[in-house]
Symmetry: C4
Subunit: 280 residues, 4 copies
Amino acid sequence: MTARTLTPRQKIFYEIIFGTETPAGKWFDICLIAIILTSVLIVMLDSIWDLHAEWGWLFWQIEWGFTVLFTLEYLVRIWCSPNRKAYVLSIYGVVDLCAILPTYIALFFPQAASLLIVRLLRILRIFRVLRLIAFLNEANMLAGALRRSARKIFVFFSMMIIITMIFGCLLYVVEGPESGFTNIPISIYWAIVTITTVGYGDVVPVTALGRAISATGMLIGYAIIAVPTGIITAELASGLRGNHLTTRNCSQCSRAGHDLDARYCKYCGSDLPALHQEGD
Amino acid sequence: MTARTLTPRQKIFYEIIFGTETPAGKWFDICLIAIILTSVLIVMLDSIWDLHAEWGWLFWQIEWGFTVLFTLEYLVRIWCSPNRKAYVLSIYGVVDLCAILPTYIALFFPQAASLLIVRLLRILRIFRVLRLIAFLNEANMLAGALRRSARKIFVFFSMMIIITMIFGCLLYVVEGPESGFTNIPISIYWAIVTITTVGYGDVVPVTALGRAISATGMLIGYAIIAVPTGIITAELASGLRGNHLTTRNCSQCSRAGHDLDARYCKYCGSDLPALHQEGD
Amino acid sequence: MTARTLTPRQKIFYEIIFGTETPAGKWFDICLIAIILTSVLIVMLDSIWDLHAEWGWLFWQIEWGFTVLFTLEYLVRIWCSPNRKAYVLSIYGVVDLCAILPTYIALFFPQAASLLIVRLLRILRIFRVLRLIAFLNEANMLAGALRRSARKIFVFFSMMIIITMIFGCLLYVVEGPESGFTNIPISIYWAIVTITTVGYGDVVPVTALGRAISATGMLIGYAIIAVPTGIITAELASGLRGNHLTTRNCSQCSRAGHDLDARYCKYCGSDLPALHQEGD
Amino acid sequence: MTARTLTPRQKIFYEIIFGTETPAGKWFDICLIAIILTSVLIVMLDSIWDLHAEWGWLFWQIEWGFTVLFTLEYLVRIWCSPNRKAYVLSIYGVVDLCAILPTYIALFFPQAASLLIVRLLRILRIFRVLRLIAFLNEANMLAGALRRSARKIFVFFSMMIIITMIFGCLLYVVEGPESGFTNIPISIYWAIVTITTVGYGDVVPVTALGRAISATGMLIGYAIIAVPTGIITAELASGLRGNHLTTRNCSQCSRAGHDLDARYCKYCGSDLPALHQEGD
């Protein structure tokens, strides 16, 4: 049996921390969102040199306050969870752990030793923002449309990577190192910047042939921007349409295509079977 | 009772100023649009240094002329409105007030004191252009599609902000201050510029790892550009399809929304009136 | 009566020049496309300084050859047209005239006098490429979808221009002349470059507040890129769907929604009325 | 007769190399993808100067190893193919040949003679990545949607090229050589960079008129980005909707394509088999 029996106190905490129906549970969630956003803001402010020089010590103290708070919350979540292992191994459990670990790890690595690693560890705390995803219920619908079109999007990306490789190599051959196309990876970086229509302008073709080839590449990129859009739109539209129709058949004339709110067959006027259990 | 009884003179003014059916009302609207556009043009021309040096005094006079005109119009609107409080507090009432206030406020703050504030006040007059929105009836349809997909778009933007924060922090750690990624807010600005495919090129990755990460970010941005498009298209298409429903009402229960091929009311099962001659 | 009676010789010319069914008419069209593209290519090559210095005289001769050819064709078109006035005033007639006029006008304005005007006149010959539009039959379908959504697109553009004006003015106030935002028209140019995600990088915000505002503007631009796409897609999809359905009603059960190729009612199995006169 | 009779040994090889059903065939395909990606990676690494200086000799050896391997595979494919000519002339046969030829050709052209040509030949090996397309089954669906909308996309591109030519020429006349618009081809390159919203910023208008014209061009580009998207989406959605048609065949005339709610064959009027249990 996977779920433990909770003591009454654990039940109360469970309803507050994991639940979203009770007023206490709602307030807990709202406070949590506010605290997460504040802690992310502190990390961002701390990265600005002027503010770090003046308020660095204060930021450090607030940072530790948030870390202790999130650690307590993490422990309480484990304590009052009906299925501890499931929570710890769930995406939210891992994200909760990742939100507190970097501050502790930074303790044991002296700052002087390797600055970059420490900087990386301290920035990782910003991933706390990922915890907000749990509050986005509607994301599931979008994720569903993306999941259904996953294979098509994979094919699309494979083709796009092949196209960027070909254009990158062509420009590497045509332009050469003196125009900034010093090697193939950089040329492919240029091709991605171009095909996605970002167009930084840090690597740019200068020869007539290179410009002609890249103009062709842009037009192709412009055309294929339509493909992922088309795929997702078609999936979303199909999902939207599907939600309005049931698969109920009329018991008299056995025709389908009745709306969700239909009570009588629109073709023969007889009663329609009632709707039960329409999941999703 | 909220609506006052208007005197005959107020009624005439009301029909001209608020109405759009009578010829006088139409002409008033057309003149108003022309005047608004002219006053916006004057603000724009006044901001060009050469023109301001030569024609600044003239612009100042024209500006005051428009302000007096708009003030008179605002007062007449209040005077002839059947429900004064409702008009003053409506969006259009507030916009009308905002279109005249800046010129008056600029009077009391001497120009020498704080140039930026004055400049701001004078530029705010350009918000007069917002008054044109009132004339765009069809905007409601688009606004409807946007409102219906508001929750989905909110989720989408939340996810996009999380993505830009993660990519911004990654690039901040990988590139560091020497490449222009001096702090996290700037790195997030770079991430937004990149994911939205604007691509100024003022902050650009220079290391191989930074370029690889940002290329990944671009491809993700390219893919998710499809999501808002898909959402809105699906909503618009669904709205358009709604137009294929007939407006036939059931003679028994008088509910509408029946499909073109429906012969019986889907709500009460009684006969529907036959369809004749439904052109498009 | 608008149409004249043509002599037999005029009829032959008319079928060759205006017609597309006969082999001669098809060959005439193919030759014309080839000549137009060649003449456009010559104008383009002539603009490259190195080629102009060496081959300028040759280009000038070829240019005059094409002009004489197009002039002859224009005169023959008028001569053999059943309704001369209608042709001359039609879009194609005007375009045909515009394709030959610049070379003649350039004769009477000495090159030394005003180089820019002459250059403009000579470049105008490139508008010959517009003549190709006549050969794109399928363009009508696209144009139809655009025309049906014209009002919505107009509303969309009005709102976008209002948004670019507001963002342009905000950045003008926040950034000021020292960042390149020297006046409001330039700031609006920047706002258009940003909202359309072109992002040249020639005018770029440098202050923290300016970057925050422009990041907001980019996200808004990213969202509203969906709106015109959605409008046109919905129209095209609706057009595509419409083409597959007829409005024929079954004479027995009077239900509609039959496919174009249906011969029997799919609901009751009786004969469907034949399709006549389905234009488009 | 086009297909030869295969010996038992040829049959086994055929099933492994061309087949995808047997475990051996699947493993062969997976190994092949891994080897192709590795060989492409080697070409990319070899282009980086630092790595080439240090590991160039190793890369050369690995390169020859892959070339021999692919040559053997190519010969075996010809040997065990039931229809040799069809394979050699098929797209995959040509791509397989192109993947090995460059290394051999590079042997006969001494490196010192013409570096660029040799570099081109060596880079051509990266086209091996094209061989992956054969493994993308789902690409056919996307290709189908593209093929069905090919005419519309062609019309769209013709119109876009006409628009870019007109804007390019306008900017060439307005801006002139001193702003970087040195000739018409470069101006058209700028117009393509702008209309596709890539926006490098290497060629940029600087005059007020030039900026006004290019802002107009951007807005037009922004609007017409919707057109290819709309075309492809409409096609894809129409393909997806096609899935809602049943695969029931009429028992009389055995034609398919009947709607879900059809009870009688729309081609011959006879009864259709009833629908049972059509999940989704």
